[in-house]
Amino acid sequence: MDEIRIGVFVCHCGTNIAGFVDIASVEEYVKTLPHVVFTQRNLYTCSETGLLAIKNGIEENKLNRVIVAACTPRTHEPLFRGICSEMGLNPYFFEFVNIREQCSWVHQKDREKATLKARDLIRMGVARAALLEPLEKFQIDVKPSTLIIGGGISGMTAASNLANQGFEAIIVEKDIELGGQLRHHHKLYPGNMDSQEILSIIEEILKNPKIIVHTSSKIKDIDGYIGNFDITILKDEEEIKFGVGTIIVATGTDLLKPKGLYNYDGKKVITQKELELLFKKDQFNFKNIVMIQCVGSRNKERPYCSSICCMTAMKNARYIKEKNPDAEIIILNRDIYTSGTYQETYYRDARKMGIIFSRYNESKLPKVSEESVIYFNESMKEEIEIKYDLVVLSTPLISYGESKELSKMLKVPIDEFGFFLEAHVKLRPVDFSNDGIFVCGTCKWPANVPESISQGYAAASRVTRIISKDSFTVEGATAWIDQDKCVTCEICLKKCAYKAITRDEEERVIVRTVLCKGCGVCATTCPQHAIEIRHYTDNQVESQITALLEGDLVE
């Protein structure tokens, strides 16, 4: 084996690290660690100058391991791995030590201890780096097509965008026609556009030769992996099978039916959705209207804010007021959520029009009786009775029950409310952690129409990154089974959430690398210790533990 030559680049990050950690002494200390042949301090390691310094460092000192002690690997690791690759070094020979987010920024009042901690962390990183192994990434072929589950506005936007770029899109919709929730809407805020206008996209979709639409269909089975998913759907009791390269989940949401809440009867006490239906049929004829917000949301059962109901209530109240300025409308709310200046103006204008907004408290919910609503006014601190001829309840968006089943087929997570969980809220908002599967629209979280449309575009754009190329590179940090130790007990087979572990033709238990995400659950479960997780091997983790105690800090 070649001699291990580690280079450590310690970042000042301007004053972000250097202001709270004695970087010069850290560098001096790092020089004394085993296998370290080169150290350098950089003002900003991620800058052009910093990256060039790494390149030169690798070349001039024949480094075969690179450590950057700087910020978090969660944002910058790909950048530095890329630099290693450029220099002909296997990217898995790169090790990141986080001395900013998890050191300098959180121990700003104790320079000495922050410095000692930085030394410890780098020593642990050096120990691990010495044991790193080169890993190969795999290339797999990609079918240039996409399955879109759900034919609502978000899914349709994604489909039309993909088709217009020349890629095949297959929409699977469970209803008899496309359109989703938008079919039930009347006008859309804030521009008062008719929802039918937006739904004209349906015709475009049906005409587009690149888009195949399956209505009255549901997903029966999904197998395979990124680039090569095998899909089985049920269309009118008939099974249809096809293959796609990527999947977009756009299943949307349902609206909560407020059964048993506030005397809901669908006639005198209705939901916003039912109100819009009355508008559409031109059957609306009420004068005294009370709207109640947060019905069945922001409570113990559903603590989340559905985020669209405030604007929806305002939109409908304004519509009524415009048609009949004599109408009396009061919106009972706990808070009003209007994000952005445009929505805030919309709210103010509603108040100017004479719509009354009044607050109630969660602990004293309004009571709806035969003819009046009694509520405790938070500002006046007294009970008020309002006569009504119509009560409208603003209920939240809730996930479809089928989401759970679908999440199991796709092997993607859902949260406790049944909404799909993206890979990262900010960094990867329309990706799933499972490669090749994406998400948009309200099945992820309550969203309005413009948001659902932009998420549809976002998902389509993420998909094209994959299907515009012939092949895809899969992560190399995966599980590996030592056949000499394996006794084929199959406990790991059942543990793997991605069904990545299987029997091969010789009946051996093996890992299908393209499916493996490297979580490590199989390894910690294997009674024979036959499974190794590459890049997070037992030895590598153990070396970090041991290195910590080797420090000069032990009392």
Partner: protein, 256 residues
């Protein structure tokens, strides 16, 4: 106070490590005692990592993962919890169970991360330095801890934990579902048995002993020791060495 606790945190990459980063971005200050090891999932935490850490004198170990239902790998955190419960049970025998902790911290909970670390650091501070910090190689504590570590690493407990969810949720090979309490009783008994058996092996590796000797050292009734001896011989882990004045003496096989 002179004692500065040394704490290792095993954090999953997706929730708690991100939560720790957020604490940093938000400049929330917390005690500088923790050293974080990043893993992809809390389900990657091998029980023996914790044993190694404790044996080398670490004062406390905290594992953090995504909240139940929010695991990036769907169920990795449930796996972590099962292994943690096993560890907790094992470590009760040596009174070290209060030096480990499992917490759920999401990517958006920077404040919570800092609180969790602060509370854990304080609790370890109160406990004082780990008894394993200054300890000779022949101490009883280290001996028992080694027995526990072998038990945690061995086939029986790992297979039991490995099958736990399936047996509870889907039933065993005869499709018979096990009530949770019953399974947990079984698990506790298995933990106890494995611990004692490994102590026997470790004693027998040092010297040849009789059932009576072992009974005294382990403070367990001779008939129970005999049961273990029969088991261990059946598994081929120990052998009969010789018989002195009608008393059989046993020895452990070195590969055991």
């Amino acid at each position: 106070m002179d004692f500065k606790p040394k704490i290792i945190g095993f954090l999953c990459n997706w929730c708690s490590y991100a939560g720790a980063d957020l604490a940093g971005v938000s400049r929330i200050q917390y005690p500088p005692n923790i050293r974080i090891i990043r893993l992809m999932c809390s389900g990657r935490v091998e029980p023996y990592f914790i044993f190694e850490a404790l044996k080398s004198g670490i004062d406390g170990v905290i594992i953090m993962g995504c909240h139940p239902g929010e695991c990036h790998y769907m169920t990795g955190n449930y796996e972590a919890e099962m292994k943690y419960q096993l560890l907790k049970s094992l470590l009760t025998y040596v009174d070290l169970d209060n030096r480990i902790s499992l917490e759920w911290v999401s990517a958006s909970e920077g404040i919570r991360f800092a609180e969790v670390v602060t509370n854990f650091t304080n609790s370890i501070q109160k406990l004082g330095p780990s008894p394993l910090k200054k300890i000779d190689k022949d101490s009883e504590l280290l001996f028992n801890l080694n027995a526990l570590q072998i038990a945690a690493n061995d086939y029986r407990l790992r297979a039991l934990i490995g099958r736990k969810r399936k047996i509870l949720d889907e039933g065993n090979v005869y499709n018979k579902k096990y009530p949770k309490e019953k399974f947990e009783d079984l698990q506790e008994t298995a933990i106890y048995d494995e611990y004692q058996k490994n102590r026997i092996i470790l004693y027998l590796k040092k010297e040849n002993l009789s059932v009576k000797d072992l009974s005294e050292r382990l403070s367990i009734a001779p008939n129970k020791i005999l049961e273990y001896i029969v088991d261990l011989r059946g598994e081929g882990l120990i052998d009969l060495k010789d018989i002195q004045e009608l008393t059989p003496y046993y020895t452990a096989k070195q590969e055991a």
